[in-house]
């Protein structure tokens, strides 16, 4: 370690959430040590779509994502090119006229949260996104939603944290957490580190270190195409996406398309609970691609080049765990962000900073209390 003395905080996990928390805590003047077992962003951070999107599955989610997106926007001038930050916006698409009321309700909810939107009818939607199939009823445009490249963003957050005095140790696996102490295994052998507090940000692995933590892996597939600049202009999501994100059992796919700055199109999304089996499920992946082609027929002739899978850290009520795990003195959890880890990394970090370094939490932290009552986790 560079600085002498014990760290005020050990952040376990250098994914995007751990990286954002480490940076915020360093900004608050705390002495931070980050322990990462593989390399920055090696887990779910590198598997996902990298969207920064406001979602209103619940008021708490709306508040956290709106806050977080604003914080990403404030960071934007500092982000280097490796973060590949872009602002394509999102179109929440209504398949039929019966879904337009959902569009309008969403507009109201977002407006109350201070998030700019525009309701598009069928004509306006076709103008905004010419390659969408005809016959759609309209959409909610959320113009300020963003996309970035999560491994790049995680690395920058860590670099910035270290520039402000944090220490990053890579290839160090935390094996046990107790009040004020963290046991680690590094290449050089086992060590015990004393510290003030611990922030657990290990995503899908969170329950390994803290048995009973209600986080389970929720597998997703993604397929990416070759470069087709301009094929789509916005992130495209079907309104039914939220229903898919809700359901905790069975497999589901929901239409989700993303234009990357490279011109490649990222095709998502799927959800299933199958433990840690990362193999490609052809039926689910094909179903996902078929849905995408139904919405954007021009995609049919586009060349797909890669398929991969990842595991979202999911909780039974679809809200992350942010706060003190009071069974363990000094342990704070920042995990369970499901498909919103990139989006809410900044808001999570702001909450964690308020909890550890003092200050008013920027949103009500109660809905994210790790000790809250949860519906029972369904077995995979």
């Amino acid at each position: 370690m560079t600085g002498a003395g014990r760290p005020d905080v050990v952040v376990v996990g250098a994914g995007i959430v751990g990286a954002a928390c480490a940076r915020e805590l360093a900004l608050a003047g705390l002495r931070v040590l980050i322990c990462e077992s593989a390399f920055p962003g090696a887990g779910t951070t590198s598997a996902g779509m990298g969207h920064i999107v406001v979602m209103d599955d619940s008021p708490a989610q709306l508040a956290l994502t709106a806050l977080s997106r604003r914080l990403w926007q404030e960071l934007e001038p500092e982000l280097p090119p490796s973060c590949e930050d872009s602002r394509p916006g999102t179109l929440w698409i209504a398949g039929g006229p019966d879904e337009m009321h959902m569009v309008r309700e969403k507009a109201v909810a977002y407006a109350e949260a201070g998030v700019r939107t525009e309701v598009l009818d069928a004509t306006a939607l076709a103008a905004a996104e010419p390659n969408l199939r005809p016959g759609l009823s309209g959409a909610l445009l959320v113009p300020d939603d963003r996309v970035l490249y999560p491994p790049g963003a995680a690395r920058w957050l860590l670099e910035d944290a270290c520039a402000r005095g944090a220490d990053l140790r890579v290839g160090v696996r935390v094996t046990a957490i107790e009040g004020g102490r963290v046991s680690v295994e590094a290449g050089s052998g086992a060590e015990v580190l004393t510290c003030g507090a611990v922030v657990l940000a290990t995503g899908v692995d969170a329950a390994q270190l803290v048995p009973g933590l209600p986080v389970v892996p929720r597998k997703g597939h993604l397929v990416i195409t070759e470069r087709y600049p301009g094929l789509i202009r916005h992130q495209l999501v079907e309104l039914g996406y939220l229903h898919s994100a809700h359901a905790m059992s069975g497999a589901s796919t929901a239409f989700n398309l993303q234009p990357r700055p490279t011109g490649q199109v990222l095709i998502g999304s799927s959800r299933e609970l199958v433990g840690r089996d990362g193999s490609v499920n052809r039926r689910i992946a094909a179903d996902m691609v078929r849905r995408a082609v139904e919405f954007v027929p021009a995609l049919a002739r586009c060349v797909t080049t890669r398929t991969w899978t990842g595991f979202r850290p999911a909780t039974p009520d679809s809200l992350p765990l942010i706060g003190a795990w009071r069974n363990f003195p000094g342990l704070y959890v920042a995990a369970g962000h499901e498909g919103l880890g990139i989006t809410t990394a900044t808001g999570t970090a702001a909450l964690i900073r308020a909890m550890l370094a003092g200050g008013n939490p920027p949103v009500d932290p109660a809905p994210f209390d790790p000790m809250r009552a949860m519906p029972a986790l369904e077995a995979a």
């Binding site: 070759e226 470069r227 600049p229 490279t262 011109g263 002739r301």
Partner: protein, 86 residues
């Protein structure tokens, strides 16, 4: 042995090629070295000649990302080069 000649269109201009010639060979014979551009915009052309490296991609009959070394010229084929997306 001389082969029959067919006509293809290269970047809007007529080009006469021997039947059985691959699109890549036809382009190189026509003096084209810049088949497509890499992400940084540098010109690229065929390398492996067998469909592996993907560097020879061009747009054929309006469809981008076609591996020209793996495709034989056909009469009336339209070939476009020089883009980022093949």
């Amino acid at each position: 042995m001389s082969r029959p000649l067919i006509m293809v269109r290269l970047n809007g201009a007529d080009l006469r090629v021997e039947e059985g010639t691959s699109v890549a060979a036809a382009l190189l014979n026509a003096g084209v070295a810049h088949f497509r551009s890499s992400p940084d915009g540098t010109p690229r052309g065929p390398v492996c000649g067998m469909g592996t490296c993907q560097e020879c991609r061009v747009t054929i009959d309006g469809v981008p990302h076609q591996r020209s070394c793996m495709i034989e010229c056909a009469a009336g084929m339209r070939v476009e080069t020089g883009g980022l997306d093949g």
